[in-house]
Subunit: 333 residues, 2 copies
DNA sequence: TTGAAAGCGATACCAT
DNA sequence: ATGGTATCGCTTTCAA
């Protein structure tokens, strides 16, 4: 984990100074392009530095300059388009502030997440993340660091969390399906740790509000294949279902594919509505209708809250830390 | 760009020590969970730290521990699936080494890229990137830092570069099309700065090798819409074209969509072969045939070379720094 | 233009 | 169990 140990001793500014026959301040001046230095001296120093392969220690430099902020972004899987979008948004918001973002992809493994959090504290000024660790664990591992959680409902006071509120959006989606004549509407829920998911609660609530029984549910892994299998299961058990709402767009895309293989035309024979509003949804056939989240806003909010935590200016209140979802009709429903 | 200036003076370990009535070593012990400390003292220190909102300086800590490596990953656009895959692969390879990766998304803007490079030197130990800056600029901005370039053909000795060699893959693709009976094969090239692209050279070379004239070319922006428009143009001007090879998969997906709108069935009426081998290609309809790159390998190679540069163990040779592409047949051709 | 000395904020090593 | 002191590698401040 280190460059220490075996490797040759680090080349320091003093080595360069010695080699060039000047003091280290002069070296510093040469390297930082100050003008209070003779051209020839400068060149000599630069040559010596190059020769020795000298690179300034960012720690030493940072220690005295103290002018950089970096935040750790912890996500389960960068290849999951949802997290790609969140990450891109966070990167953008951070760049606007001149911050550096250290990205950690935990590969969906809880141990990796623990390891990451354990190591992160000494590397960044704050953490933004989609974490699955229990709160007391997070607390222990990030002691002292500002932490902004993404999409966690319950949380101790120590943390900030950006909540995702899809209630109205899901309601709009279900209403729309009902208005289009659908009565048997199923859901492809996430096969995660908390089941049924909150998104399922929204679904069930919306169904009830429409005077319908919550339809059949099938559990799907968070992947296209997962969605594919789940839809097949669902339709096998409940062939009368004419519309499905899915936990997210990835699963919905799997559903689209399964429907095609089953010979069901979307949206005529089966309407599909996803959740997340991924750009990806525009590319599939037919383009996916979805309950869309503003991921840019999500990322920006997370960074904004981090900034407030960092400067101890008043943090955003719980009510401001919400991203609402809204129905985005495309062609799958 | 800093937290310095206005904000209150930073809380240091000495403040905590004073407040808790102990020495700073004791504070250090309490915070780092050493066991050579009394339980009650520890608690008192922890409380004081919490009270004061103390957070250790990562620079000071890094300075004395010297056991972390972080590399900067500079890419033009994280939302471009190709770069998402490369980034994910690099992240993975870096994690395996215990490195930290600071990600910079320059939003495809050259000035941003310059700014990023300028600021990066004091933040990371090495740079891996897909850069569009001229080489002498890069050299100037990263003076001293190891730099590994991705997909740059020409380069000064100072840099390492991972080359992408699609010659054989493209040849296989064109051969396959020809064997399938195609004679008029067009290309949707990238509307970038160097035109025609190297990928076009491969295309032209393959056509010649098959005894055909290089077909008509249309230029496309790097986007789905770009591909869509480019295919429409191409077919309008050359309706006899029965197959197209595209600069990349994104453009190919646009072509797929345009073909559908034009009433041309893929692959019967029009065969399409992309380049890159994005996962995304599996999701579209029909699944995209493509000349695929191993992005995981690409990311791993970049990180491996960075490691060698960093430890001054023999760097990989030019011949080893290549990722070859190969034809991956799916259903669009 | 150059150099000497004083930090920056932590940890490690050695006393006690 | 606790404290003193040296040290990490650099920039800044002040003299010369």
């Amino acid at each position: 984990m280190a460059s220490s140990g075996t490797g040759p001793r680090r080349v320091t500014i003093d080595d360069v100074a010695r080699s060039a026959g000047v003091s280290r301040q002069t070296v510093s001046r040469a390297l930082n392009d100050k003008n209070e230095i003779g051209e020839s001296t400068k060149q000599r120093v630069l040559d010596a530095a190059l020769e020795l392969g000298y690179r300034p220690s960012r720690f030493a430099r940072g220690l005295v300059r103290q002018d950089t902020i970096s935040v750790g972004l912890v996500i389960p899987d960068l290849l999951n388009p949802f997290f790609t979008e969140v990450a891109a948004a966070a990167l953008d918001a951070a760049r606007a502030r001149g911050w550096h973002v250290v990205v950690y992809d935990t590969g969906d493994r809880v141990e990796e997440e623990r390891g990451t959090l354990a190591v992160i504290a000494s590397q960044v000024d704050a953490v933004v993340g989609y974490l699955s660790q229990p709160e007391d664990e997070i607390d222990k591992l990030t002691r002292g660091l500002p932490v902004v959680l993404i999409d966690r409902e319950h949380h101790a006071e120590r943390f900030s969390a950006i909540r995702i509120d899809g209630k109205e959006g899901v309601h709009a989606a279900i209403s729309y399906l009902v208005e289009s004549g659908h009565r048997r509407i199923g859901m492809l829920d996430h096969a995660g740790r908390s089941e049924p998911s909150i998104r399922h609660d929204w679904f069930a609530g919306a169904m009830t509000a429409c005077g319908l029984d919550a339809g059949p549910v099938s559990r799907a892994d968070q992947s296209v294949e997962g969605g594919e299998n789940a839809l097949k299961e669902l339709l096998a058990a409940h062939p009368d279902v004419t519309a499905v709402f899915t936990f997210n767009d990835i699963i919905a895309i799997g559903a689209l594919r399964a429907a095609r293989r089953l010979g069901r035309t979307v949206p005529q024979d089966l309407a599909v509505i996803g959740f997340d509003g991924l750009r990806l949804g525009e590319l599939v056939e037919p383009p996916l209708s979805t309950v869309a989240l503003d991921t840019r806003h999500l990322g920006a909010l997370a960074v904004e809250q981090t900034a407030r935590l960092l400067t101890r200016s008043g943090p955003l209140s719980r009510d401001e830390l919400v991203v609402r979802a809204e129905l985005r009709r495309r062609e799958s429903a």
